[in-house]
């Protein structure tokens, strides 16, 4: 296994910047998830690492080797595709053997390695079948088998779980994580599902509009999003964002809504004063907000918009100054729509973003 380094990688299609100056390092044996909404450039980035499309600029290193101009076959990587890309006219055995045949291994050794990979993935009984005779989960295993049959330096995975049904996806997620731990493999994993990224990855690279927004551990991305995009993309339900103004009187700083103010703690006041204008966005995750049924100093008034019970927890969407704030409640608490409520924000766990630049205030 090897590390993978991207430096100032650029990909343009005509005037469209698909990947815009992306740099990050995937450590040896690390599981990195590339996440972002559709069209954010994550799959393009993966294809650039694989060498399937030419770069417009920048450098990619796999191990210590500069691979900018190498063919995919010479990069010594393996890839798992969203549609599995199993060769439909070959049996499972021949699918697994293909990468070894292309590397001109002896017949006996190919048979040995294929058998071993099949045993690990528990697909031995499927070896003589054609891909179309397999279920989605089985095809997924075969695709994985074809990737790991020949110890590549890195695994690239392009949304490998998104074609599976919800139950199987959760199961395969666990297996993939286990597979990564057992092999100590370097994995670069593309997904649009932030939950997959958070649960499996050592680090996640959040992309939007071709640019890398944040590259950090899932915990840090979750706890310290660098901008409003990351804040609203990671976490389910998303972080609530309320655009407000700052009001300063002496040392005290408060956030002002239409007919209320929220005094900020000294630490938060200092952050808010770092904003480029008085436009500041308040961000808070559902679990850090408490709901009250009577007004009190420091509470923010709102009106219940919808109530969504999920069983474990009930999500309440509250209208606050034109924005929606999501609060989680114990399902035992009765709550009705269109009632007035008052919200308490945890000063230690709320987020402030610059209203003009959308960047986190630190």
């Amino acid at each position: 296994m090897a590390k993978v380094v991207l430096q100032n990688v650029v990909k343009t299609y005509g005037t469209v910047q698909a990947v815009n100056d992306v740099s990050f390092t995937v450590g040896d044996g690390e599981f990195v998830a590339l996440v972002g909404p559709s069209g954010c450039g994550k799959t393009t980035t993966l294809n650039l690492i694989a060498g399937l499309i030419p770069m417009s600029g920048g450098d990619i290193r796999i191990g210590d080797r500069l691979v900018n101009d190498l063919d995919p076959k010479d990069r010594d990587i393996a890839m798992v595709f969203q549609n599995y890309a199993l060769y439909p006219n070959k049996t499972v055995f021949k699918n697994l053997a293909f990468p070894l045949q292309m590397r001109k291994l002896a017949r006996a050794e190919i048979a040995k390695k294929v058998t071993e990979a099949a045993r690990v993935l528990d697909i031995t009984h499927l070896l003589e079948r054609k891909p179309r005779e397999l279920s989605g989960g089985q095809q997924q295993r075969v695709a994985l088998g074809r990737a790991l049959v020949r110890d590549p330096r890195a695994f690239l995975m392009d949304e490998p779980l998104s074609n599976l049904d919800a139950k199987l996806r959760v199961q395969m997620r666990t297996e993939l994580k286990r597979f990564h731990q057992d092999l100590n493999a370097t994995v670069i994993y593309v997904t649009h599902d932030q939950l997959e990224a958070v649960t499996m990855a050592d680090k996640m690279a959040v992309m939007n509009g071709g640019s890398l927004q944040q590259y950090d551990s899932p915990k840090n991305v979750f706890d310290h999003p660098v901008n409003t995009f990351v804040a609203s993309f990671v976490g389910s339900p998303a972080m609530s964002l309320v655009p407000l103004r700052t009001v300063t009187s002496g040392d005290a700083v408060a956030l002002a809504g239409s007919d209320w103010t929220l005094p900020l703690s000294p630490a938060n006041a200092r952050k808010a004063q770092g904003a480029t204008s008085e436009q500041v966005i308040l961000g808070a995750r559902h679990s850090t907000i408490r709901m009250h049924d009577a007004a009190a100093p420091g509470l923010v008034p709102g009106r219940v918009y919808t109530v969504e019970p999920t069983g474990d927890v009930t999500f309440v969407q509250v209208h606050v100054d034109g924005a929606i704030v999501i609060v989680s409640l114990d399902p035992g608490i009765p709550i009705r729509t269109d009632t007035n409520v008052w919200l308490a924000f945890d000063q230690n766990r709320l987020h402030l973003f610059d209203g003009a630049t959308q960047m986190a205030l630190r």
Binding site: A50, A78, N83, A85, Y87, M102, P131
Partner: protein
Amino acid sequence: MSDRITRKGFDGWRWAGRVFLTLLLLFTVVPMVWMVLTSIKTQFAAMQYPPQWWPQEPTLENYTKLLNPANPAGADFLRYFWNSLYISVATTILGVGVAVPAAYAFSRFRFPGRTFLFFAVLLRNMFPAVVFLMPLFILMRWMGLVGSHGSLILTYLTFGLPLSIWLLKGFYDNIPIQLEHAARIDGATRFQAFVLIVLPLSTPGIIATAIFSFIGAWNEYVYAITFLNKKERLTLPVGIQKYFAEFSTDWPGLMAATFLMSVPVVVLFLVLQQYFVKALTEGAVKA
């Protein structure tokens, strides 16, 4: 609801469809049956009125005559037959050989003039073939090809290729590009990925294209009669027509020749059809 409606008595549309299909079947089959029946009649029986529906003295004499190189009519027929076979096979092989890479390129690559070229290819098909007869004849004369089989092969290629490319491009469009990506990551060059993975998957398309260009060349008449001037170089459609003029009364002979002419196409179709079905079911163009 719909179940009850369809089960209630007489379904007019369904019966109309059946009647239509039966008429269509008769329309195509009866002439062929008549051709075969006439070909095994004697000359006298063929000219009888009212006609003999079933030959009273069936004979294979017309066939033995045509297939016997010692017989002048047979020698001519066999030469025409080989000429046609040569031209059709050459057209098919060259056509597929050019159409496969061209279609692949149209399907996979973005290059300047791609759209223009592709529509230029279609534009040709909007004109009847006869429009190009004189220009092509002048072109062939300028190249010194008039009267040669090469002129016909070239002509059939110009007419056959556009549709072949169009047909095959559809097949390549349906083969997921990820298969090639996977092959290239698994250690294949771009060319190997094409030959080892894509080509086998496009077998049904290649066979369909081959049948299409073979039949086109085999049956073509207008260009063959214009470009070929020596008797020994004629192709079957032209040859049979001359034979028809010379022995205008020999209906059984003509029918036998026509029947023999249709044999290669039917054989080709039957042989390749098995392949076709096999490739379709095994290959499952979708991944």
